[in-house]
Symmetry: C2
Subunit: 425 residues, 2 copies
């Protein structure tokens, strides 16, 4: 008998019919002899509809109130799911984040889980019942205020509960078969990968793969929670995310180094032109950017032109952070004495992810060669131990993903490969 | 500076626009120097929509889950209202029943408030902020489970909070101007009454007046909470519900004894025909009825016909309790040896309410005379210290209300008078 945490997203519980279908699946897992904990998101578009209601009231709703509003969504889905399971003859009870013991800090809108105290969930399991838990939400310790965890928060709830309960596996149900070597909508030859390490999955999630939220992967890695990404429409195995040692243990042959190709269209590029090339200038610029609340991704600084003593600094950041950052930089133009600012939201980022990439020479050469042969210009480059990312024009990104996927022989062959990288744009 | 608890029902916060309108009213009360606590119901038809969703899942949802589901409604309205008030420059925070310290028993679906511990509400007031509280809901003490209070629960929340906080007044906002001498839709000459005692209001609410929930009046009476029923669309005074002593104190002249005429179309009548007239038979019948969960209102037993030794017993009960009660009685027909059962949902009940009715002879004679003159047949009669109720055919009820309203000189004259008795049928 295993202890299984299952997570179902909003598209899996879009209407009463889908709720009943998911309930059937949960009842089967229970009847197969497992202890089952289910984390569920709000139904379909509920969260967006609630956000829209808030916008009708005020353009800048207080975050505390917005959090209370949004958590109504999971309240609805979790209770309906508990009813549907009970209706199949399996006892089930639903719990809010607070009731399930999901304790967070007080940063409304993107709270972090600081502790999980799942007494009531354990009690429910001990009684032989299924426990349904609202994803995406928690409660602050002292003040008992309701918080939300931000985008992908339900994945994080599921992994955190799995860690807190010592679950055997955390199953993330989605509408695709697992993690793919690339977004199948862009690369029809993309393949589902069977195993991926936490580290590779982290890079993939950070680089635009949407199938698992980045923070949930971080959490899974820290606590060693085995994650299984799979389809809610089939019984097939999906993708298992696990420790690198486990991954190589299960894979007797030498693992191919490339896991897959992720892409991301949700970033913009800001270039600060004509920056005096004196010590401390970059630090000052990024102080200002950080003050505007932006999360910077890639940074590139040109070599200073000796004649002028000026340089250009470019960086990428989420589209949404653009306006505030541009305003903050404009405000200090006099102080920092740069020439001008450029804002560009027509960029795309391609990331090649794989273990031990730095120790295998030739990977970057092959990547750049593939892009050159496809006639695609590279605007920025950044690398890590297991990733190379390049920025291209947004309208060249699909071609770039296909070219790289082919160049690394990921098309339709068995083996390891990378991640479904849909960005929803 | 007064401490005011205001309650707004679902129709007052039906959409974003109404929420903003209500917010303005609340902000005004705050700016006028009051401490303001607001209890709010779910927006418009939200509760019915959630009930419908549950019905799509299962015809018999577990009550605990249904309660969690329904409380999503107030979560939405309360957070939107807090946003709207904040947007007007007045600080406001919203609290669930649990956060506001509304402790109930564990009878899901119709829980009773057992304690109110409004620490956080008091803190919020001390900071000079408006506290918004979800109506209709509470939490069980030990298990921290979410409960709902049943129909009219938000009125009860408001009165209970007003009692717990020692508020100066509990204002119940509605879409009519207050409590009327009769339903103005039936009696165009009906007048708003300025003051009514708790006891009279109790009888009126119990007899079909919908403007205030019965349980909230009980609560107000027990804790001496001054209630003010008024329109959310005007600034006029509505109806004040207060202790009988207060009522007569403020009213120097001798108070007319009649408060008003209430009516109710939501009951049915069951007649058990040919019951052996032996001791204990009525007790046994009403044991069975109670076992079916029905709330009995009026009971009439015919005088036994000496020749047969048989009698008939009729009683009224809420329409919804009819089928289960009929089934329960049918099941014991053999044991109790009665002849047959009749079910009649085409009845109406008229109630005349007023202080000291029993000590004023002639009131019932005048009532029966008025009905006789209008050609209306009386099927059942029951009386209390301050009320006379009669059952008529449902289709005669409007005529009966008008006839009695006129006979007691309530039409369009200043003075005391009775309640808006709309039943929604």
């Amino acid at each position: 008998m295993a202890l299984v945490v299952q997570k179902y997203g909003g598209s899996s519980v879009g209407d009463a019919r889908s709720v009943k279908r998911v309930a059937k699946r949960i009842a089967e897992a229970k009847r197969a002899g497992n202890d089952v904990v289910v984390v569920v998101s709000a139904m379909g578009d509920t969260t967006d509809e609630l956000l829209d209601l808030a916008q009708q009231i005020t353009p800048l709703p207080p975050q505390r109130e917005l959090d209370i509003l949004l958590t109504a969504g999971e309240r609805i889905s979790m209770s309906l799911l508990a009813m549907a399971i009970t209706n199949l003859g399996v006892k089930a009870k639903s719990y809010t984040g607070q009731q399930a013991g999901v304790i967070t800090d007080a940063v409304h809108g993107r709270a972090r889980i600081v502790d999980v105290v799942p007494h009531r969930i354990r009690e429910t399991l001990n009684k032989g019942q299924v426990a349904i838990v609202a994803g995406f939400q928690g409660v602050t310790q002292g003040t008992n205020d309701v918080t939300t965890l931000g985008r992908g928060g339900s994945d994080t709830t599921a992994v955190a509960l799995a860690a807190g309960l010592g679950a055997d596996v955390c199953e993330i149900y989605t509408d695709v078969d697992g993690v793919f070597t690339a977004d199948p909508r862009i690369v029809p030859a993309a393949r589902k990968i069977d195993r991926v390490s936490y580290e590779e999955m982290l890079e993939l999630a950070a680089c635009g793969a949407k199938v698992l939220a980045l923070r949930s992967v971080e959490y899974a890695r820290r606590y060693g929670v085995p994650v299984h990404v799979r389809s809610s429409f089939s019984a097939h195995d999906g993708t298992r995310v696990l420790a690198a040692e486990e991954k190589s243990k299960e894979n007797a042959m030498e693992a191919p180094i490339i896991s897959g190709v992720a892409h991301d269209r949700s970033e913009s590029k800001i270039t600060v032109i004509g920056v005096p090339d004196v010590p401390g200038m970059a630090a000052r610029i990024f102080e200002v950017v950080a003050g505007a609340g932006a999360n910077i991704d890639m940074i590139v600084q040109n070599v200073s032109a000796a004649a002028t003593g000026l340089t250009d600094i470019s960086f990428t950041l989420p589209d949404g952070d653009g306006p505030a950052t541009m305003a903050a930089l404009t405000a200090v133009q006099g102080e920092l004495a740069f020439d001008s600012l450029q804002f560009d939201d027509q960029i795309g980022k391609l990331s090649l992810v794989g273990a031990g990439m730095k120790s295998h020479p030739g990977v970057s050469a092959r990547l750049f060669g593939a892009l050159r042969d496809a006639g695609i210009n590279i605007e920025m480059i950044s690398t890590s131990e297991i990733r190379i990312s390049v920025v291209t024009r947004a309208d060249s990104l699909d071609d770039a993903v296909r070219a790289v996927h082919t160049a690394f022989e990921l098309d339709g062959v068995d083996g390891e490969a990378v991640v479904y990288a849909g960005t929803g744009r």
